[in-house]
C-alpha cells in the first residue's frame, strides 16, 4: 500500500473517530437547547393558564376554563391544552371530545403526583410533542398568590392540589430545525472532506515527489550509476535528505568509480589471460597455485582453472621426469625461479595432466615482485607435442636417410651437392666434406656417352624420375655399378627445388648373380651328367673290357697294335670322363665326417708326386699345425686337391714350383681352414678367368682334360659350404679354397650339405 494511502486511511479514521462523536454531541446539544426552549415556553404559557384558572378549578368549571385554554392554544400554537382535576378527569380540553375522560396512563399518574411543572416528550396522534404539565395548587390563605406563581414551594399543609394543566407543544418545528442544522453540518463536512481529500492528495503528491526522486536516484546508484542526483526544492527534512543524498552520490561517484575501473581492468586482464593460447599460472612462495587461466586448465586436463587454485603445482604436474624418475622440488627450475630469483626457459620436460598422461611442454618462469620482494612466480607454458613429434619425425627421417643402405645424394637444381649420407661415403670413398659443394660429376666414369647424360637431364628437368644403372668411379679410381633412381623434389608452386639420388652399389649383387648363374649351370650339368654317365657306363665298360683283353694278347709287331691300343686309350679317356661326371652328380650325396685337411693334402700329394717328379716340378708343403677338423668328405676334398694340383702341374709343364699351403683364417666370429695351391705357371688370362669353372671348359689339349675338373672342384667346395677364389698373374696363380670350421654352437652357414 502506498504511503499516501496509508496516511489517507489514518487521517480518515481519525476524522471519523473525532467527527462522529462531535457531530452526535452537537446534535444532542442542539436538540436539548431547542427542546428546552419549547419546554420553557410551554411552562411559561401553561403557568399563565394555571395562574388564570386556578380559582376556577372547582367542580364544573369548563365554561370558564375552555376559553382560557383555547386562547392559550392559539397563542402558543399548541396542539392541545387540557386541564385535569386531581383524579385525572379531564376538566376541559381544546379537543372537546376528550372532556370528561379520566386518564389513567403512566404519564398522567406521574403528572398527578408531580408538585412542580415539568415536561416530557410524548406522542400525540403520531406527532412528536412536548407535554408540559403544571400542577394546580389552591392556596387557602389569600397571601399565597405570590407563592403560586413561583410554583408552590409552600408546605402542602397550606394549599390544596386541584389538578393540572397540560399543554402539548409540537416538536415538529424543533425537529425540522435540528434536521436542517445537521444536514447543513453534514454537507459542510462532506464539502470540506472532499476538498480536504483533494488537498491531501495534492499535498501528498507534492510532498512525496522528492521521495520518488530519491527512490529513482537510489535505484540508479544501486545499478552502479554513481553520481545520480536529485533536485533540492525545499528546505525541509526531505530537502536535507536530497542534499545529503546528492553529496553521498557524488562521493560514491568519486570513490567507487575507481573501483569499477579496477574491476574493468581486472576483467580485461582476465580476458587476455583466458584468450591466451599459452597456459599461464601463478605460484606463491609455497609453490601453490594463485591463479590459472583457461588454457592452463585445458592443457592440463582440468575443467575449470578454479580446480588448480591452492594446489601445489610441483606435486600436481611436475612431480616426475619424462623418463619416470621422480623430480625433486629443489631441482625444479620453476621453484628455483622464486627461491633464487632466476627466470627460466625449459623445453625438454613434461607436465603431468589430470588424466595421468604426460604433456611435452615448453615453459617460461618469471619471478613476481611486490614491493621489491619476490612473492612467487608466473609460469607460462606451451603444448609442444606437435613440435616434439615433428622433431622426432625429422630425426627419424634423417636417421633413416643417413643410415640407409642405399646411398643418398641431395643436390640443388644446378646439381650442386647439399647432402650425402653415410652409404655414399662408404660406396664412393668421398667424405661428406669432400662431396658437399661438388656435383655428382666427380663420380663420372667415362663409361657413358653424352647422350646418356642428356637423356638423364631431360628426364629430370621435365619433373620425371630417372631410373637406371650407371657405372661410376670411386675416389680410388675403381669403377662400380650403381642402380637406382634420381627424383626431382618439387615444391608447392611446381618448381624443382632439389634432386634426390637414391642408388645402390650393385657390384656385390652382380657377383652374387654370377655365383647363382654358375650354380645353375652346375645344377643343370649335374643332372645331365648323372643321366649320361649312367647310360654310357655299361657300354663303355664292355668296350674297355674287350679292348684291354685284346691288347694284353697282342704279340710284338702285330699290325693291329695301334688301332687296338687307340681303342683302349680313348675308352679309358671316356671312362675317366664318366667317372668325373658320376663324381660330380654324387658330390652332394657324399657322406660327411670330420676331415683333417692336412691329411687330405698328404694323401693327394702321394698321388701327384709321381707326375711331379716326372715333370721336374718342385713340390713344397707348408702345413699349419693343429688345424681344426672340418666337416666334409675326405675323398672329395682329396679329389679337389688332386684336381687343382694336376691343373697346376699341367699349366707349368716341365719345371716349376707347386706350393700347397694350409692355414687357419679368422673372419670375425667365423673361422675357416684354407688350402692354397700356388704354381709358377703362365697364369690364367683375364678373359677366360670368369669361365674356368664352367663345365666342359678346358684349355688343355684334346685328350688331356675333360673340362670337368674345376667344375667338380667348384661343386664340391659349394657343397661343403666353402668358397673358392683365384688370383692369377703371369708367374703366379693361386687357388684359395676355404672350408668353414664348425665349432660347438657356431654354424657359419646353414647345414645344407649334410645328408
Amino acid at each position: 500500500m502506498k504511503l499516501q494511502w496509508k496516511v489517507f486511511v489514518l487521517i480518515f479514521l481519525t476524522a471519523i473517530l473525532l467527527g462522529g462523536p462531535l457531530l452526535l454531541t452537537v446534535r444532542q446539544a442542539v436538540h436539548r437547547i431547542l427542546v428546552e426552549e419549547v419546554s420553557q415556553k410551554g411552562v411559561l404559557a401553561t403557568t399563565q393558564i394555571v395562574d388564570r384558572v386556578a380559582a376556577q378549578f372547582q367542580g364544573a368549571a369548563e365554561r370558564s376554563l375552555l376559553p382560557v385554554l383555547q386562547m392559550a392554544q392559539d397563542q402558543t400554537g399548541a396542539l392541545y391544552v387540557m386541564a385535569s382535576d386531581a383524579t385525572g378527569r379531564v376538566l376541559a380540553h381544546t379537543n372537546v371530545a376528550e372532556k370528561g375522560k379520566i386518564y389513567s396512563d403512566a404519564a398522567t399518574k406521574a403528572d398527578l403526583r408531580a408538585e412542580k411543572p415539568h415536561s416530557h416528550p410524548a406522542l400525540y396522534k403520531g406527532a412528536q410533542i412536548m407535554e408540559i404539565t403544571v400542577p394546580v395548587w389552591f392556596h387557602s390563605q389569600p397571601a399565597q398568590g405570590e407563592d403560586f406563581l413561583l410554583g408552590g414551594n409552600k408546605e402542602p399543609s397550606g394549599r390544596e392540589y386541584r389538578g393540572f394543566v397540560r399543554m402539548g407543544l409540537p416538536l415538529a418545528h424543533v425537529l425540522e430545525t435540528e434536521y436542517r442544522l445537521i444536514r447543513r453540518i453534514v454537507a459542510i463536512i462532506f464539502i470540506a472532506g472532499g476538498l480536504g481529500i483533494l488537498l491531501f492528495f495534492f499535498f501528498m503528491r507534492r510532498l512525496l515527489l522528492p521521495v520518488q526522486w530519491l527512490s529513482t536516484a537510489t535505484a540508479r546508484v544501486a545499478r552502479g550509476e554513481y553520481g545520480a542526483s536529485v533536485p533540492v526544492r525545499t528546505k525541509d527534512e526531505l530537502g536535507n535528505l536530497a542534499g545529503d543524498f546528492n553529496r553521498m552520490s557524488q562521493v560514491l561517484a568519486e570513490t567507487t568509480v575507481s573501483k569499477k575501473v579496477l574491476e574493468e581492468s581486472e576483467n580485461r586482464v582476465r580476458l587476455i589471460l583466458d584468450s591466451a593460447a599459452e597456459g599461464i599460472y601463478g605460484e606463491d612462495l609455497e609453490g601453490n597455485c594463485t591463479f590459472a587461466n583457461q588454457a592452463c586448465a585445458r592443457l592440463l586436463g582440468y575443467q575449470d582453472p578454479a580446480e588448480l587454485i591452492g594446489k601445489n603445482m610441483h606435486r600436481l604436474l611436475h612431480h616426475t621426469h619424462a623418463d619416470g624418475k621422480p623430480y625433486a622440488p629443489e631441482d625444479c627450475p620453476i621453484i628455483r625461479t622464486f627461491r633464487e630469483n632466476a627466470q627460466t626457459h625449459v623445453d625438454t620436460e613434461v607436465f603431468w595432466r589430470a588424466d595421468g598422461k604426460s604433456l611435452p611442454a615448453e615453459y617460461w618462469s618469471y619471478p613476481v615482485f611486490q614491493d621489491g620482494k619476490v612473492t612467487g612466480a608466473v609460469v607460462s607454458f606451451l603444448d609442444i607435442t606437435q613440435r616434439r613429434q615433428s622433431e622426432e619425425l625429422r630425426a627419424m627421417l634423417f636417421a633413416a636417410v643417413e643410415q640407409s643402405k642405399d646411398s643418398v645424394v641431395i643436390t640443388d637444381p644446378s646439381g650442386k651437392i647439399h647432402y650425402v649420407n653415410r652409404s655414399f661415403e662408404l660406396t664412393t670413398g668421398y667424405s661428406r666434406e669432400e662431396a658437399i659443394g661438388q656435383t655428382p660429376r666427380v663420380l663420372k666414369s667415362g663409361k657413358h656417352d653424352r647422350k646418356f647424360y642428356e637423356m638423364m637431364w631431360s628426364t629430370l628437368t621435365s619433373g620425371r624420375v630417372w631410373q637406371s644403372t650407371i657405372t661410376n668411379r670411386r675416389k680410388d679410381g675403381t669403377l662400380f655399378e650403381e642402380e637406382g633412381n634420381i627424383s626431382p623434389v618439387i615444391n608447392e608452386s611446381g618448381k624443382i627445388t632439389n634432386y634426390v639420388a637414391v642408388k645402390r652399389d650393385i657390384t656385390e649383387r652382380r657377383k652374387m648373380e654370377e655365383i647363382l648363374r654358375q650354380s645353375d649351370k652346375m645344377s643343370a650339368v649335374g643332372q645331365l651328367a648323372a643321366g649320361v654317365a649312367h647310360e654310357i657306363n655299361n657300354p663303355l665298360g664292355v668296350i674297355l673290357g674287350f679292348a684291354q683283353a685284346v691288347v694284353r694278347r697282342l704279340q710284338a709287331g702285330d699290325p693291329l697294335e695301334l688301332p687296338l691300343k687307340s681303342i683302349e686309350k680313348e675308352a679309358i679317356r671316356c671312362k675317366n670322363l664318366v667317372q668325373d661326371l658320376l663324381t660330380f652328380s654324387r658330390a652332394s650325396k657324399a657322406e660327411r665326417e670330420p676331415v683333417d685337411i692336412n691329411r687330405s693334402v698328404d694323401g693327394a700329394l702321394s698321388l701327384v708326386m709321381a707326375q711331379a717328379r716326372m715333370a721336374h716340378i718342385e713340390v713344397k708343403k707348408e702345413l699349419a699345425p693343429a688345424l681344426p677338423h672340418v666337416l666334409g668328405n675326405q675323398n672329395q676334398i682329396q679329389q679337389i686337391i688332386i684336381n687343382l694340383s694336376n691343373n697346376a702341374m699341367d699349366a707349368m709343364g716341365n719345371n716349376g714350383v707347386l706350393v700347397l699351403k694350409t692355414e687357419l683364417m679368422l673372419e670375425g666370429a667365423l673361422s675357416w681352414v684354407c688350402v692354397k695351391i700356388t704354381d709358377t705357371g703362365p697364369g690364367i688370362p683375364a678373359e677366360i678367368r670368369s669361365r674356368i669353372f664352367d663345365p666342359f671348359f678346358t684349355t688343355k689339349p684334346v685328350g688331356k682334360g675333360t673340362g670337368l675338373g674345376l667344375s667338380l672342384v667348384h661343386e664340391i667346395v659349394q657343397k661343403h659350404s666353402g668358397a673358392i677364389a683365384v688370383n692369377s698373374r703371369p708367374g703366379c696363380t693361386e687357388f684359395l679354397i676355404k672350408f668353414p670350421v664348425r665349432q660347438a654352437g657356431v654354424s657359419p652357414t646353414p647345414d645344407k650339405g649334410t645328408p
Binding site: 657306363n537 655299361n538 665298360g541 664292355v542 674297355l544 671312362k575
Partner: protein
C-alpha cells in the same frame, strides 16, 4: 690252382656286352662259362648244373642279383657268388656280403681283378672240399 676238373662259371648280367666279355675272357682261360640274362634264368641254370662260381650283376630285370644270391645259397650252398655293383653302391655290396657273397667287384669290370677274384674263390672252394668243410662259415 687249376684242377683236372673243368671250372664251371655262370655269368648273370642283363647287358649282353658284359656277358660276352666275361664269357670270352674266362673261356680263354679254359673255364666253362654259361650265361644268363637275369636272376630267373640264372636260378634255372644253377639247378641244372652245379657251378663253382657265379658272377652276377645286382641290378637286373625280373630277379636281381641279391635274390639270385639268396636262392643259389639254398640250392647249392657251396657255389661261390661274386656280385658286381655299380659305382658307389657300397650299401648293396655290404648287404650282399652279409648274405653269403664271396666278394664284390665294381662295374665296369676290371678283367684282371675279376680273374683274380674268381681264382681266389675257386682256391678257397678247393681247400674247403679237401678238408670237408662247407664253403663258408
Amino acid at each position: 690252382m687249376m684242377s683236372d676238373q673243368t671250372l664251371k662259371v655262370l655269368v648273370v648280367d642283363d647287358e649282353p656286352g658284359f656277358r660276352n666279355l666275361l664269357k670270352w675272357e674266362l673261356e680263354s682261360l679254359g673255364v666253362q662259362v654259361d650265361t644268363a640274362e637275369n636272376g630267373t634264368e640264372g636260378v634255372r641254370k644253377a639247378t641244372e648244373t652245379a657251378f663253382d662260381v657265379i658272377i652276377t650283376d645286382i641290378t637286373m630285370p625280373e630277379m636281381d642279383g641279391l635274390e639270385l644270391l639268396e636262392k643259389i645259397k639254398k640250392i647249392t650252398p657251396e657255389t661261390e657268388v661274386i656280385v658286381a655293383t655299380g659305382f658307389g653302391a657300397v650299401e648293396t655290396a655290404v648287404h650282399a656280403m652279409k648274405n653269403g657273397a664271396y666278394d664284390f667287384i665294381l662295374k665296369p669290370y676290371d678283367l684282371e681283378y675279376l680273374k683274380r677274384k674268381v681264382f681266389q674263390a675257386v682256391d678257397r672252394l678247393a681247400r674247403c672240399r679237401e678238408c670237408g668243410r662247407p664253403a663258408h662259415e
